[in-house]
Symmetry: C2
Subunit: 461 residues, 2 copies
């Protein structure tokens, strides 16, 4: 990534790296559309009032000023200024409300766009990056089967990326209602606080989290211990999850007649449904992991994080959840569930793992030019090849043929086409500059060998 960071936090890729990013985007889009998700794009800009409404990242936004208004913008309240979106969920909520009369609900959408976060430059984090999101938004209500569909679609998209070197992904799911019911059942009240501290488990470890639960959230040692016990609970199937949760409830002594317990069971049953249905459709892909908390405060039900086998230090590469209260208009609410891939970080990882373009140029063949006076003939040959779908370039100059071949070689173009020279008997020839094989070729029937036909992404383990 050395090449990508001339401005700290704003990654930029070399052409061969961009090929990998583009193919990842193409692949995700293909899978999303195969599953009936509709592509939209929202403007990069939202009003401050939208950006400031929800979530902890709302403080890390970039506001815009017209150069010509410089110095006057301080008179405008932040809520009425424009800023760059920091995710694709807040813009989706605004889009859905704004266009609700023109959409069919449940609205299943995919969206792959850049987002911006006005982080401190020195933190070495991305300030501009690409997110790839899918969400399903209901009008008034949203069936809970979408809470298993959305992670399954993401998993099938991520599975396709294994061809580029992605390790096996597993979605870890939890449910906010389960957590909240459990915490309330313990007698805790600062639910958001507890979730915020539990979210730090992977970073600071259980002892530190326990201290914070005590110092920040009003927990006693037993309550803190019980929260950590819950966070340690995982399960592969619904029955196992029910049993382990039940055992823990008994151990910590939560009242099974309480509203808190009822809330926890509501969340538990959704989670059971998710992991059992996921196991039927894509076995071993989704597990219950009750430490998953998600810092953002807008989730109200399922929450998800996605980890790659052998790449735990990367953290979650695809996160999300169900949010029932993010979008509303008058009495109407638009509950949603979604997942978001942090695509730029994932790309950095794949590039570091050795994912690479098979060649820099999309061209499969470069037509040589014997003499600048013959360029028209070479242009015609290239045109004929393109008309048959074969990507073709033409040599930049009528230099010595070795120099022309070097240009093709630098770009990874596998074939060089030699037009017949006027007055000579032999016709056109084409040379595979990787294998060295040179053969007569005609414009009507020649095709590149399938191995060399298309620019692709390779992964060398």
């Amino acid at each position: 990534m050395a090449k990508g960071t001339s401005l700290s936090g704003f990654p930029e890729w070399l052409p061969s790296q961009r090929v990998v990013e583009q193919r990842i985007i193409d692949t995700l889009r293909k899978v999303f559309e195969l599953n009936g998700y509709i592509g939209i794009e929202t403007r990069a800009v939202e009003e401050g009032s939208s950006l400031l409404k929800k979530g902890e990242t709302s403080k890390e936004i970039y506001l815009l000023s017209r150069l010509q208004d410089l110095g006057q913008e301080k008179d405008v309240p932040v809520e009425r200024r424009l800023g760059l979106h920091f995710d694709l969920t807040v813009p989706l909520s605004r889009y859905v409300v704004e266009h609700s009369n023109d959409l069919t609900f449940p609205f299943k959408r995919w969206q792959i766009q850049k987002v911006w976060r006005g982080e401190r430059p020195q933190e070495g984090r991305f300030r501009e990056f690409v997110q790839a999101d899918i969400d399903v938004i209901g009008n008034g209500e949203l069936p809970d089967h979408y809470e298993v569909e959305v992670p399954l679609v993401m998993l099938s998209a991520l599975e396709e990326l294994r061809a580029f070197g992605l390790p096996k992904p597993t979605v870890h799911a939890n449910n906010r209602k389960l957590s909240e019911g459990f915490y309330r059942g313990l007698g805790l009240e600062d639910i958001e606080g507890v979730l915020r501290e539990i979210d730090k488990l992977d970073k600071i470890g259980p002892d530190e989290v326990a201290n914070l639960l005590v110092s920040e959230c009003g927990a006693n040692q037993d309550q803190a211990r019980a929260c950590l016990d819950l966070a340690e609970l995982t399960a592969d199937d619904g029955e196992q999850l029910r049993q382990r949760f039940d055992a823990l409830v008994d151990k910590v002594g939560i009242d099974k007649e309480s509203p808190a317990y009822a809330l926890a069971i509501e969340g538990l049953e959704t989670l059971v449904m998710i992991i059992d249905e996921a196991a039927r459709i894509r076995p071993g892909s989704v597990i219950a992991d009750l430490k998953i908390a998600r810092g953002l405060d807008y989730y109200t039900g399922s929450v998800y994080e996605t980890f790659l086998e052998g790449a735990q230090s990367l953290g979650s590469i695809c996160s999300g959840g169900r949010y029932d209260n993010l979008a509303s208009q008058g009495n109407r609410t638009y509950p949603g569930v979604g997942l978001s891939i942090g695509l730029s970080r994932l790309l950095s990882y794949l590039l570091a793992q050795g994912a690479q373009a098979s060649r820099v140029s999309p061209a499969a063949v470069m037509v040589a030019v014997w003499d600048e006076g013959d360029r028209t003939a070479s242009n015609h040959i290239a045109q004929d090849l393109r008309a048959r779908g074969i990507a073709a370039d033409v040599a930049p100059t009528a230099a010595k043929i070795g120099k022309q071949i070097r240009y093709a070689d630098h770009l990874g173009i596998p074939y060089v086409w030699f037009p017949a020279k006027e007055g000579q008997q032999e016709g056109d020839q084409v040379k595979n500059i990787i294998t060295g094989e040179q053969v007569p070729a005609d414009l009507v029937s020649w095709r590149p060998d399938s191995l060399y036909a298309r620019q692709s992404v390779e992964y060398q383990a």
Copy 2:
């Protein structure tokens, strides 16, 4: 476009409109890559010093402020602040200089991205829009045959858009050296000023331009008249262009021994080469039109605008030119030639002309759900269809079948799949809800009729 403008100047499309935009982008990319152009993406953000360097639009930029630095940014000079790019040419120049050691020259690149202009909101112009650019950048030198290649590639891309309702495009070409040599030959010295006024011809007409040439550029009436005569000159082929130019030079009495004349002839011969070679490869697609000026000051040779038959009021939809001095590093310069499509304006036009998606959803088939208990079976059917590349959705609820069909219908999904009911003899059936035809179908062999297989863009004349 009524739906696209809840924030003035920031267009946003409904799903069915976005399909058209996405297909235009796909088509342009396909043609660019077929011609060996390499796709890159640059960060959305540039330093103020880059943005302010060139061109008249540099005053219409958006600067960024981190929310947390609010109030302090006024201490930072604009040159050291970050702003959103207003085109893709300035970022390309910066990218090429920064990565010159990793690129092969001539570097042929395509780039399709959003750009932003901090225009006044009330002008009703786009402040966020998509540009689609191709450029060829040389290292030290750039052969002039790229000055005909670039418009020809753009034309072949635009020709593909005729399937979406685009009228016939024609590139109008001129050359800055021709204009400058002619103006200097007349004794005029404020060349940029004259070009700026000539650029207004279509907007304010020849009489107003003549007045401005006199009042702003120090021209007398004869000189102003001669400038307008030059602007009226057009030609379809090189010989015609030479003759008409020669006749005009004689008429206005330019000295054929002067350096000014030599400069004009240098530009003329490049223009002759362009229109003659274009006529050989794509007859009738490029004409010489000596009123083309381009306001931006960085062009040094060829300049282009592109007009659509019967849509003159739309103005140029694709403009550009050759720039020899935009990028440099020490003694090294990176001359370039490029063209840029204003894609959002073009999309608005095509939508207004009736371009539309064949359906909102990418899904070809929706699998019905008889009962929520059967959802797993419907999910399995959808999975099997997707595994064969058939985009499939599943009904959102196990509602009455009429309601399920209406959901598919709203999204334009042409087929509804009815899973076999347990205990009944008949197997799965599939119904084309457009034709009403319902037939038995099996998961291994059924395919949608090719007419309905893919979401596409239609154009109703």
